[in-house]
Symmetry: C2
Subunit: 378 residues, 2 copies
């Protein structure tokens, strides 16, 4: 058994590093801010669990207004079902016989949804669901501007909806219309324009499907960067926000709060230790690429805007002093062994590096939260 | 229990994805190439286990010429000691009471070395080693150009060597003089210049220490990009190569083979499945940021130079067709569900995303290798 970075009851200063810590009060406040911002709007909340991969957080979200969760992988969904989550949308395509079998097997015990963007996949899902005697609810994913997965809105989506509606073992649930590319557009104006186009495409496609006699009850999408635009659209019915509970440096660069979007606060940090001060003019911390994902930029040093994390290698981060900030702390004042909190560049892949989230209240370890779906790739 | 991506005896086509696969014959050939290139040179081999985090590979390296291994974290070292590796250098600073205690505890059962670059750390290590009745061998890390950890070569290093030599519970073993910045310089000329300076600094420091009456038997360093330069220096005595067994896209951009440096071949791949073809002109595969680290650039599509992995999100990779390549395979010819091999941008942090390495021989699953030190951060 590997030693844990912390034990319940210890102060933050006793946590060994690098460790992933979460301020549970801040996390709860973020969720309340989300609910408040959605008050009175005709949407339900199905948070994305790929961000936290943590059943305890999913159960807490379910107890506080969520109707279910999203997962991105079947193996992730299984981890959450094992922990008692009973309504899971795999907001992604599930390709390949083994995964489809796992998905249908999961449908024996929880409500399962999945997305499709290919007719052959509809056929495969139907055949397996039928053979296993289960029902899977299927969303047609449409490409509303992110240009990743999804059929073209309109006629192609209608063809697919019809195929699903006619396929034994499958139920057509609606449209997956996530505009992922809009989430990190920096200005609200850009986000509103991009999501505005997505709303038009989703509405047009929904109307076409409904006009053909197929009910299309769910229009799903919306990430942390844009969800309120979808929520107010009158088109979207289900939101899939994930990062809002944690936040990260990349989301922090969006212009918030604006137009009713609340100021979510950073609740997730990588706690790190200064492990070298030998090279003049810099610090080295013990959190590198294996402790904080850099795909969306370097981590930020929390609490100390004058310290700049400039370079990551596998197990090291180099921090320099930014002289444009006139703060009391200088590189010279930081001692060997001192702990610093880093704001990860991108929360989701950073969480995926850890087996535990260390939940703090008032800077004391309140509980250790297993990241049960960490590494659930299949 | 999570379903594994593969079972022994299955063909590569049956492996579920994303999965980390390694061509065991290619891995063995890389190790033989390394040994051949070092033949007759007065250096020993202490491969870096942070690359593979896999005890089975470490044991195989020990059985084929390695005198021990390097680790970068104490928790990593514990995982390898648990698997029977008896000589481990933590080629890094170990800061903090808990970690120092773990290190000294480890010294009860295996030969343990560690690096220092701060006098207060020497004092802490000595106090704990003495209290626990163990001996720890200590290397002074010098900054030979990578500007990460390490004291200045020369007088500062001598001061530290003296402190170690006089400290109860510690033995001064030599100098850690790794030129990490040289490894990915693209031309051999640049690498030779950078490592040439490192050699001069290491020699000068060693001579100063020896002249003061302290034996300095080990000069350690050398990565996959430069090791032969160190090996031929007459100064370095111990090599710490890690990536050579796997290789990656970033190392692939170095100009090799040259000046006796062998052409290591790619043995490590992320196996991925085409999961969407719905957006015209591109493919989407099921390996994104959580399946292949992008810190050193996007993965490459093996076997198909005309396919270009252009964008990664958490669980998706977008592949486009590069029309400058006149190959038979086009985007249109790749079917949904087809598997592709990706060359990771950077091997070490990619391995750290997986619980298992799937070892292949002749494209059949030969053994499943647990990545036991995956996530060993402390």
């Amino acid at each position: 058994m590997r030693r844990l970075a912390a034990a319940v009851g210890e102060p933050i200063t006793a946590i060994d590093t690098p460790a992933l810590i979460v301020d549970l009060d801040a996390l709860e406040r973020n969720h309340e801010r989300l609910l408040t911002s959605l008050s009175g709007l005709p949407v339900v909340l199905r948070p994305h669990a790929k961000s936290h991969k943590c059943p305890e957080i999913a159960r807490w979200q379910m107890a506080h207004g969520a109707v279910g969760i999203c997962c991105q992988k079947v193996s992730e969904a299984i981890a959450f079902a094992d922990a008692g989550i009973s309504d899971i949308l795999v907001s992604n395509q599930v390709i390949g016989a083994k995964k489809i079998q796992d998905l249908c097997d999961l449908a024996r015990r929880v409500r399962v949804g999945v997305c499709v963007d290919d007719l052959s996949n509809v056929k495969d899902l139907s055949a397996t669901a039928q053979a296993m005697g289960v029902t899977v609810e299927v969303m047609v994913e449409i490409d509303v501007g992110a240009h990743r997965c999804g059929v073209a809105p309109g006629a192609d989506a209608l063809t697919m909806a019809k195929a699903i509606a006619e396929a034994p073992g499958l139920i057509f649930r609606g449209l997956q219309a996530y505009q992922g590319a809009a989430q990190h557009m920096r200005s609200q104006t850009e986000r509103e324009a991009a999501v505005g186009r997505a709303i038009d495409l989703a509405r047009m496609t929904r109307d076409m499907i409904v006009a053909s006699g197929i009910p299309c009850p769910v229009i799903a999408g919306g990430g942390t960067g844009s969800y309120l635009i979808e929520a107010k659209s009158g088109v979207y019915t289900e939101l899939q926000v994930g990062s809002y509970i944690f936040m990260d440096a990349d989301y922090g660069r969006n212009d918030w709060p604006v137009n009713g979007m609340p100021a979510f606060e950073q609740s997730l940090f990588v706690l790190t230790t200064v492990m070298s001060r030998a090279v003049p003019g810099q610090l080295v911390v013990d959190a590198g690429l294996k402790a904080s994902s850099v795909d969306s930029g370097m981590p930020l040093v929390a609490d100390h805007p004058e310290l700049r994390y400039v370079r990551a290698s596998d197990e090291h981060g180099v921090i320099q002093y930014d002289r444009t900030h006139d703060q009391s702390l200088s590189i010279e004042a930081v001692r060997l062994g001192q702990k610093l909190r880093l704001v990860p560049g991108h929360c989701d892949p950073t969480v995926n590096l850890y087996d535990q989230l260390i939940g703090l209240k008032d800077n004391v370890v309140h509980r250790i939260l297993p990241v049960s779906a960490r590494g659930a790739l299949l």
